[in-house]
């Protein structure tokens, strides 16, 4: 959490300027791909494993601005929003309803494209609980939908030729049966 200088005054010898640096740094600064700079509270920043590792591994000073070239500004905003709420709810005893309401709102206006981008970012930044939640949200979108819908939704290009396509389909005929008769 703090820099390498020892806080225990009784042991260390205070030596001028370096002692001043030793004061507790509570903000971590990151820069996203579009050049936007974010000041994160330490406790929120530490929820993001990739940031945590970056600073703790080599005891890097918090003065360093950590670059995040794979993350867009808007994504960072959303991640900070989620992690801040998570930290807040950690200390609450019965936060279930509040968490559910927050989660519903969080994904409410996100397009599928944005949802997928955010999922990718959560994976890259290594925030497990956010990744779990976003994967759940993505799965909800394709549950009980047929393949054509899924293809359209995700924009996956078909790189099979007709013969190959039929072959793959025949590998699991049970999966493609009764698609129109599904009652669920």
């Amino acid at each position: 959490m703090s820099t390498s200088t020892d806080n225990n005054a009784s042991i260390t010898q205070e030596s001028g300027p370096s002692a001043a640096v030793q004061d507790i740094q509570k903000k971590i600064v990151v820069r996203t791909a579009d050049g936007e700079v974010f000041n994160l509270k330490e406790e929120v920043a530490m929820e993001i494993d990739i940031i945590k590792t970056f600073f703790q591994e080599d005891s890097i000073s918090y003065e360093t601005v950590m670059p995040l070239p794979n993350v867009e500004g808007w994504e960072m905003v959303k991640v900070i929003e989620y992690c801040t709420k998570h930290v807040e709810l950690k200390h609450k005893v019965d936060g279930y309803k509040e968490r559910k309401a927050f989660q519903a709102l969080f994904v409410q206006n996100l397009s599928t494209k944005s949802l997928l981008a955010l999922t990718n970012t959560a994976n890259y930044l290594e925030v497990k609980y956010l990744l779990d939640f976003l994967c759940q949200a993505v799965s909800e979108q394709i549950k009980n939908k047929d393949v054509d819908y899924v293809r359209e939704l995700f924009g996956v290009e078909n790189d099979f030729n007709d013969e190959e396509y039929e072959q793959v389909k025949a590998e699991a005929p049970w999966a493609h049966e009764n698609l129109n008769n599904d009652l669920h």
């Binding site: 999922t119 994976n123 394709i142 924009g155 793959v168 005929p173 999966a175």
Partner: protein, 507 residues
């Protein structure tokens, strides 16, 4: 934690800006790595996952490397043999699970395989062998076979298998001898077997001994025909369930790590000299449900016991078996939560002299009683209450059936109310002093304003100094005579209450 070099590499990448504009508009999902896509697919039924295999080559490989194959989410279940079109495929190959397993990426392991199927033993064995070859960790199988079959021995040698569940429908399967069963299962942590024919080995004394199944934490044996004696002593065992073993005569359970024990519908009620011996000091939960009583129950007082539930099979207990009942209650006397099924109340009610010696449940905070609440149950209930001086919550679940005759509370005799039940309860006031002092919450389900429960409610309200809440609910029963109920309710609200904080709720 990453190594220094890995971390350094990562930092280098930070300074190279990735080209994100390659898949401009549409395909954002391709950017997601395989592990994340699998993460999303884990949340979907297997049919959906298999469907995605036609999306593209990448998705096909995602399917063929998908580790969790839970075919039980398929509804309806596909028939084992395909239609007349596929005359070139024999029955075995057209079995779709085998097909899926055969189409898999050879190097990708299966984590979970779960299915329910009607098939022959040779097909079952083939499937299991295939799964083992793919290093399956969780194998959960329910089968319908034509005839008895032998336990698939290929699972024994598996090093990857952590959880194995084999459930058979009629008729069942046979187990290999102990020497074979204990020769492998090196990584097994959970074993669940259902519908075993043990007629050729009625005594399983060395299959689950201290030196076998060294990693086994959970064991469940259900419907073991012919099982007469069982000894379980696996060192790492934490959870043991034994059910539907009607011919059991002797049970010996020991385990220093055992925390949960459930024995349901076991023991042969017609046999003389059946016995139970439990040596598991760390037991936290004991569920003894609908077992025929043994002649000899030996169980040490369980000091870590948190929750216990007792249900007897018969109401009529011979004097000889009363000692067993007493031992059972005594062993469970340190429980914090206790549930007693209806036959227990009957037994305690019919044997007054025994009821006097009922062990004190000194830690008991939560008590749930299921009873028909007949007239003769009242002294039995009183003696139970007397044994629970520290009780916090009492739940009385009244079983209202047509067999039990229960007198309606006579609202007209209210002022002069001095029914037998009331007199009896009043006579117990001194005996129940501690119980009344600590009782805080009372809930009566199946409350139909009959004399018994109204007398009890009145008594508790009158003397319960710490009472906070009394909930009187009809439960599942249909309310009758609405108007009369209203009158009785308002009368009840007019009782004298010992606790000024108390609150009654009617449902």
């Amino acid at each position: 934690m990453e190594t220094r070099s890995a971390a350094a590499k990562k930092k280098k990448l930070f300074f190279c800006k990735e080209n994100e504009h390659s898949h401009n508009n549409i395909d954002r999902i391709t950017e997601l790595p395989d592990a994340v896509l699998h993460h999303i697919l884990f949340l979907l039924p297997i049919k959906t996952v298999a469907q995605t295999s036609v999306l593209s080559k990448r998705w096909r490989s995602l399917w063929s490397s998908f580790p969790d194959l839970d075919f039980t989410t398929l509804n309806p279940f596909p028939k084992p043999c395909s239609s007349s079109k596929s005359h070139s495929l024999n029955c075995k190959e057209s079995d779709f699970i085998t097909q899926v397993l055969n189409n898999r990426d050879k190097h990708s392991d299966i984590r979970i395989l779960r299915f329910r199927a009607r098939l022959s033993f040779s097909r079952l064995n083939g499937l299991i062998r295939l799964a083992i070859r793919h290093k399956v960790q969780v194998l959960d199988v329910e089968v319908f076979t034509e005839d008895y079959f032998n336990f698939p021995r290929c699972v024994i040698a598996s090093d990857s298998l952590r959880v194995f569940k084999l459930k058979s429908r009629r008729p069942g399967f046979r187990l290999p001898p102990s020497s074979v069963m204990t020769s492998g299962f090196r990584s097994l942590q959970s074993l669940s077997l259902s519908r075993i024919s043990l007629c050729n080995q009625p005594s399983l004394s060395d299959m689950f001994s201290e030196s076998s199944f060294l990693l086994l934490k959970k064991l469940s044996l259900d419907t073991c025909f012919g099982l007469k004696h069982l000894r379980v002593g696996c060192r790492a065992l934490q959870d043991l369930t034994l059910e539907n073993c009607f011919e059991l005569q002797g049970l010996d359970v020991s385990g220093s790590k055992l925390e949960r024990l459930r024995i349901a519908k076991c023991f042969d009620g017609y046999i003389e000299k059946s016995w139970v011996k439990i040596d598991a000091p760390r037991l936290g939960v004991v569920l003894w449900e609908h077992n025929a009583l043994s002649d000899n129950i030996c169980m040490e007082n369980l000091s870590y016991l948190h929750k216990a539930s007792i249900g007897m099979l018969h109401e009529d207990v011979s004097v000889a078996k009363l000692q067993s009942v007493s031992n059972l209650f005594s062993a469970l006397s340190l429980a914090h939560c206790l549930t007693l099924e209806s036959n227990c109340i009957e037994i305690l009610s019919n044997n007054n002299y025994f009821a006097v010696y009922l062990h004190q449940f000194s830690n008991l905070k939560y008590l749930e009683l299921h009873t028909g609440f007949k007239k003769n149950n009242v002294p039995g209930l009183a003696s139970i209450f007397r044994s629970c001086p520290m009780l916090h919550t009492l739940i009385l679940n009244i079983i209202n059936d047509f067999k039990t005759e229960r007198r309606q509370w006579n609202k007209d005799l209210w002022e002069m109310s001095n029914s037998e039940e009331e007199k009896y309860w009043e006579s117990q006031t001194l005996n129940l002093k501690l119980f009344l002092h600590h009782l805080k919450i009372v809930k009566i389900l199946g409350f139909l304003e009959c004399e018994n429960e109204v007398s009890l409610a009145k008594f508790l309200l009158k003397h319960g100094k710490s009472l906070e809440e009394m909930i009187l609910s009809t439960g599942h029963c249909k309310a009758r005579h609405c108007l009369q109920r209203q009158k009785i309710r308002s009368q009840m609200m007019g009782f004298s209450w010992a606790s000024s904080n108390a609150k009654i709720t009617f449902h």
